[in-house]
């Protein structure tokens, strides 16, 4: 019970079903994060590249 109230999903179900129900939304959120980082940090599109130029250098993303 302590575990369920401390997770981001509101308390409710038992621990097992809780964990199963959590996996899909968590993976979706992670995928969203990867897409965002990939787009800004790794895009080969010229305009995106130029806009994020100083950022990419400052984050040591492979650039040019």
């Amino acid at each position: 019970m302590i575990m369920t109230t401390s997770t981001l999903a509101p308390a409710g179900a038992s621990v097992e079903t809780h964990t199963q129900a959590q996996t899909l939304p968590l993976m979706m959120a992670a995928l969203l994060g990867l897409l965002v980082i990939g787009f800004v940090g790794f895009s080969h599109i010229e305009a995106v590249h130029n806009a994020g130029h100083d950022y990419r250098h400052s984050m040591a993303f492979p650039c040019h």
Partner: protein
């Protein structure tokens, strides 16, 4: 969808804060070094003479006029000054949210970041995964520095990030000792493979400037990740409280 919404909301707030802090750090530390490097980059190709010989010069003498760093040649680029800084800030905030999403998701699988100390530890892990490990093989580069082909570097960078994340997870959460040993192996393997390197490291950038840049990038990223972890810890409790009090029994 409550969990997805909560994760995105938490990541958006934490990423926004960390992205703003990062922009302030970059504007004062790394960006001046990038601008300084660009003066070398722009100066290098102009070293060749534009003298009276121009009329008779072979066409090939025009070639050096193309800077080593040629992405500014075509396509839109933000104007120097406010516009350029604004786009840097935007990139920091957007990817700050992206990194925050990964941090929140990874930590939720392990029970969530509930204390400031946990936030810092998760932040350090993010720093190790996204800055330290890839930076060993591919140190931060300034404009005008030679580098290997972009795509192989991006592949090595991604592989190193994945291997380091998996390796750290095995070391920290692996229940058997052989898992921890496997984790260490995963941390080491990308560096045995080695990052793609340029044929020559010769560059117009003074070594002192590059060294300063490597330190600045590494330290600003360390602060970024620490802020991201701490903000996640601070905000998560609020998000959980709201969610729990608003809908105590809705999954």
């Amino acid at each position: 969808m409550t969990l997805f919404r909560n994760v995105v909301f938490l990541a958006a707030l934490a990423g926004l804060c960390a992205g703003l802090v990062m922009t302030a750090l970059q504007v004062t530390s790394t960006v001046p070094l990038i601008l300084q490097a660009e003066t070398f980059e722009n100066a290098a190709p102009e070293a060749h003479e534009h003298g009276a010989a121009d009329a008779t010069a072979p066409v090939s003498s025009e070639a050096p006029a193309v800077p080593a760093h040629e992405h500014d040649e075509d396509g839109w680029a933000p104007a120097d000054g406010f516009e350029r800084t604004a786009f840097t800030a935007l990139a920091n905030i957007v990817t700050g949210i992206g990194f925050a999403l990964l941090l929140v998701v990874a930590s939720e699988f392990a029970g969530g970041i509930t204390t400031l100390r946990q936030g810092l530890l998760w932040g350090f892990a993010g720093f190790a995964v996204f800055t330290l490990a890839p930076g060993l093989g591919l140190p931060p580069e300034l404009p005008a520095m030679p580098a290997a082909e972009l795509l192989p570097r991006q592949i090595w960078w991604t592989g190193t990030v994945l291997a380091t994340a998996a390796g750290l997870a095995l070391v920290v959460f692996g229940r058997a000792s052989w898992l921890a040993i496997g984790g260490i192996a995963l941390l080491v393997v990308p560096h045995l493979i080695g990052a793609p390197q340029p044929e020559s490291h010769e560059s117009p950038i003074p070594e002192g400037l590059h060294h300063q840049f490597v330190v600045a990038v590494t330290v600003t990223n360390l602060v970024f990740w620490a802020v991201l972890g701490v903000m996640t810890a601070l905000l998560r409790n609020r998000v959980v409280d709201d969610a729990v009090t608003a809908r105590p029994r809705l999954a």
